[in-house]
Amino acid sequence: MFKSFLIKYGEIGIKGKNRYIFEDALVKQIKHALKKVEGKFEVSKQQGRMYVEVLSEYDYEETIASLQKVFGIVGICPVVHVEDEGFDKLAESVVEYFKEAHPTLDMTFKVNARRARKNYPLDSMQINYSIGEKILQAFPNVKVDVHKPDILLNIEIREKIYIYSQVIPGAGGMPVGTNGKAMLLLSGGIDSPVAGYMVSKRGVKIDAVYFHAPPYTSERAKQKVVDLAKLVAVYSGPIHLHVINFTDIQLYIYEKCPHDELTIIMRRYMMKIAEHIAKETGSLALITGESIGQVASQTLQSLAATNEVCTMPVMRPVISFDKQDIVDIAQRINTFETSILPYEDCCTIFVAKHPVTKPNINIIKRSERNLEEKIEELVATALATDEVIICE
């Protein structure tokens, strides 16, 4: 029944002269999202509106589901096309459409006509009240409300006539690629994929880094992270995942530093390495899934100690979320099931029974002095192990 989709985008509309940058990015993301959907589509900008035109047989549910994953789309309106065969015929089609699209007939409505083709014999106002009248005649339970209608029935006079009234909510946010790139520290847990998703929603392109610690973490743990990156990529577009072999650094810290500081020191080196790769690959910020107080390494003191090693902004979108809130998003974006697969990640291997919860930065730095002899060399070696996996 629906032959095209009107794409509503919110914030982009208020952008000034670079509005076209945002629109072009949105067109690109929509095209990318529809690649895997059954059917042929054309995405176009026409007179300040964006349409997805359907050119073949297609799968309606699949199309909507894909469009709902594109950041920047606020609403999706499925549109019915009718040929211009005179006003009476149009009124008939509209009544027909109304019956199908809104089977519960106890509601208020308003007709909103627009003439893109000005040579149409009736003007917008005339169309509004003539069509309104026909609907009132056809459905006695329906009332007009021009201020707060339940249904806004849009009629656009173009080459053909477009009719639409439903608005299916979109993902919101901004089109990916309009706000630079950031590096996500992806661990395999529940929080970091959610963090990546949230930042990506603001139009930021995402790369990721994962710290692999063989033989303490398995090939399956790595595969799990690749799978998670792919799930986030459904929203964010392709993710370049950097896999860094972290074992030797970890063992060296284990050897040289107090055991209860192990996790903090380890995380400081993870941040350093992530920042290094971020700089080399054009990312402007780091993203982590940290949330205040969730574990010993995420107390405010620990966060401050970890943060101290880098100069880039570190974005922590779930910082004030409760675990359950994060889980809810993880379930909605379909990363939860994968996140809870039971493979050990590198943070838990040597974790102390009682790690420090209020690390003192000066004490941490003093402990790190024990690493001076070899650590730079080990970091360089770790960076050399960088394996880039493109996840899409």
Partner: protein, 384 residues
Amino acid sequence: MECYLDNSATTRCFDEVRDIVVSAMTADYGNPSSMHTKGVEAERYIKRAKETIAANMKVNEKELFFTSGGTESNNLAIIGSAMANMRAGKHLITSSIEHPSVLNAMKYLEEQGFRVTYLPVDKDGVILLEALREALCEETILVSVMYVNNEIGSVQPIGEIGTIIKEKNPNTLYHVDAIQAFGKYKIYPKKQNIDMLSVSGHKINGPKGVGICYIGEKVKIKPIMFGGGQQRGMRSGTENVPGAAGIGKAVEISYENLTEKIDRLYELKQYFVDAISKIEGVTINGKIGMESAPHIVSASFEQVRSEVLLHALESRGIYVSAGSACASNKPAVSSVLKAIGVKKELLDSTVRFSLSSETTKEELSYCIEELNNILPKLRLYKRQ
């Protein structure tokens, strides 16, 4: 050097097996139920496989059924016979160290109103025969026992158990899960009072997805799969011709010079056990020597987590199994190791090495050398 010591998980397919599987899929791809020549050709593969298997097990071809593997064979034998004989009694006996495909089938039957006795085992993983004698009663319709345990390689006195069962009640059915034992022992169901026997293809260098269920001619049993009535109604579904041909070929090759192969495996195992016993902090679980299976060694390594050892060995091309799969957020401790009384601190430090007729002494010596290299390093870094 690649050194595959996980043959109890699965084995490499013999080249001859691969060849016959390919020709059954590409040249003679007919449906054995078809009336035309293509069907007849396909049927011939099944016939030939059955002949080979029947001859080697000294049973009748009619008593062999192809299944989708060990799990289905165990399910068919246990559930199928329990359902068919429930009027004679609703008591079943098995051991506490069975494979999940037996234990969970038993659990299902418990839900259906059957009573199940789980026989205890001694410290070597061998069933206490006294407990079996006590458990057997008029109501007992089925005893199911695994020949060789998959985790520790303990061997049950299959013949003796058969005698005890039949002395008590000749109508009690005796099922043997021979999935780890087939091709390592000469198994003749008819001489050992075995009524039903399960075999898996991929444990004997055959293809995955195919198994054999031997069901003695006189056994009362019902199918658990319903459909077009293939395999005389016992296992509906178009026959897995490539699988059947493959397992037939694998059985044929396994039985060539079987005695010599078994002797050689025992020699290799002894060599391996002697060498790793010399390493500090290593315990071998269960019996060694001729009283244990020729191809399985279960060893516990003090102060080393089995998963870490497994990955460290893997990075050197050596493939083994963790005796007990355990991850930090989902502890799943092996019930078999627990049942034979492995110390708590060693449960998560246990690795299984399993050999095949293709394993060489060079591979084992390489593995021993690497164990000697890796273990001291791993013991330096441990969870505190």
